[in-house]
């Protein structure tokens, strides 16, 4: 066996390397959407304070409102849709800052970015879980708070549905800001400055839904616009977030 045989064995090795490279794709890499989603859900369930804090903020501030602006039922019921919606928006914003921070700091975001597959689905999984643990509980609580603020009963259902649709859009839009600011040590107000203007359409059509219902009009059109915003945000926001994450990781 001379050097020729060795050369052959080496080229065979090269082939098996190639074959292994293909077979490897299933191994030691970041798995699919379902596993990402489940992992995020497990993590969220373990950091209960992250779930409870926005809700607590939401409920406490709204409970303070009648004390601050006076208990007149007519005034409260006129302000209720706007108050609930603004507080839901702020609660979402508060919880958004930490969306990518943990993953950025422990390096798993970089590991995700190194995968050949796009970042779209990991981002979507994170946002979906964020919405499930903040937006949905906020929406579920909203009729109760509506009752506290003397919101008319005909407003409960539109409030709930508009919050379900709207907070999903808020989570998606906020993810872009969170991705842009993830590399900053103390983003502070920057995150709010970036995403607040993008929140405005959601706020307008969200309160518009409830107001229309209270005034006895059909609120279908407003809900349709909220749905359209959600559809656009679901398609574009994860893409923008993924791009922003790559920029953040470059520095």
């Amino acid at each position: 066996m001379g050097s020729e045989a060795v050369g052959v064995s080496l080229s065979k090795k090269a082939q098996s390397d190639e074959a292994r490279g293909v077979a490897l794709d299933a191994y030691a890499r970041v798995p699919g959407f379902y596993t990402l989603f489940r992992t995020e859900l497990v993590l969220a369930a373990r950091r209960r304070s992250d779930i409870v804090n926005p809700l607590l903020f939401f409920v406490t501030v709204l409970a303070m409102m009648p004390l601050g602006i006076g208990p007149e039922p007519e005034m409260l019921s006129r302000m209720a849709p706007g108050l609930i919606w603004v507080m839901a928006l702020l609660a979402t914003l508060l919880s958004q800052e930490s969306l990518f921070r943990g993953d950025y700091e422990d390096g798993s975001l970089e590991q995700l970015a190194l995968q050949p597959q796009p970042l779209y689905f990991p981002v979507l999984a994170k946002v979906l879980v964020h919405w499930l643990v903040t937006g949905v509980p906020l929406a579920l609580l909203s009729p109760l708070l509506g009752m506290m603020l003397n919101l008319g009963a005909e407003g409960y259902w539109p409030l709930f549905v508009s919050l379900v649709l709207g907070t999903a859009s808020l989570s998606l839009i906020g993810a872009v800001g969170a991705a842009l600011t993830v590399a900053l040590r103390r983003p502070g107000l920057l995150l709010a400055l970036i995403i607040m203007p993008l929140y405005v359409p959601v706020l307008i059509f969200g309160t518009g839904t409830v107001q229309a219902a209270l005034d006895g009009y059909s609120f279908g059109p407003q809900l349709a616009v909220l749905g359209a915003i959600l559809a656009v945000a679901a398609a574009l926001a994860p893409l923008a977030s993924a791009g922003a994450i790559r920029i953040s990781l470059e520095n």
Binding site: V6, A14, S16, D17, A28, R47, D106, L249
Partner: protein, 237 residues
């Protein structure tokens, strides 16, 4: 699969060099230079990482080891010169390279809210493989403890357990893999890397400690620092 008994490490290096560019030189840098914040970290860097060999990048703190690694994995495109993967240049070859890359950086990619088992599952490992890998890094009995309750060295071991999973990718790029490891851990990791080299894999690592693996080439970034950088820093801009 294992290298022929006729090839000593030196000849296998030569042979695989002949065998290029298909398999021989996996990763190659040609005239590579990087700068950060206007300071040139290194310039004219050349190296070759053939299959079955390891490369240790040395340099003082701040010499640019981590910047070099981030450049090689494609996290930053701020460099001059060529990086080639299997004979094809970046950035075109980047996704091909990443599909065969296992990278463990300074932040090791261990999620502190998950247990070691869950962390490895996140990296796509089957349960019994993850168990064996955790056993190999000495975390037997800690599989289901949350990583935030483990020490720094143990967290490091969780990250390194990825290297022990069967069918690990060909190219390992490891930033300070020996940091925070005890003596037994270092020895275990070295034997793991030796096994990987024997299977025809490649390892690029940074370390301040001597690493006992063969064949090991060394690149010292201090040899590639441009002389005029002081003048530039003082009089430039």
């Amino acid at each position: 699969m294992s290298s022929s008994p006729y090839t000593s490490s030196a000849t296998s290096l030569e042979l695989s060099a002949q065998n290029s560019p298909v398999d021989g030189d996996r990763l190659r840098a040609r005239d590579l230079s990087c700068e950060r914040d206007g300071r040139v970290l290194f310039a004219g860097l050349d190296f070759l990482l053939p299959a079955g060999t390891a490369l240790q990048v040395e340099g003082a703190n701040g010499a640019g080891k981590s910047t070099l690694i981030r450049t090689l994995i494609g996290s930053t495109s701020d460099y001059h010169g060529d990086i080639l993967w299997r004979g094809k240049a970046f950035p075109g070859a980047l996704s091909a390279m990443r599909s065969e890359l296992l990278y463990i950086g300074h932040n090791a990619g261990v999620r502190r809210g998950l247990s070691p088992m869950e962390n490895l599952a996140w990296y796509g490992a089957a349960a019994e493989d993850a168990m064996a890998a955790l056993d190999a890094v000495g975390l037997y009995g800690f599989e289901d403890t949350l990583c935030q309750q483990l020490s720094a060295g143990q967290n490091r071991r969780v990250a390194l357990a990825r290297l022990y999973l069967p069918g690990a990718p060909q190219l390992w790029i490891l930033d300070e893999p020996l940091a925070a490891l005890d003596v037994a851990g270092v020895e275990s990791l070295e034997s793991c890397m030796r096994g990987h080299l024997q299977r025809g894999g490649s390892v690029l690592l940074t370390s301040h400690q001597p690493v006992n693996i063969q064949p090991l080439a060394k690149v010292n970034l201090a040899d590639f620092q441009p002389q005029e950088s002081h003048l530039e820093a003082e009089y430039g801009f």
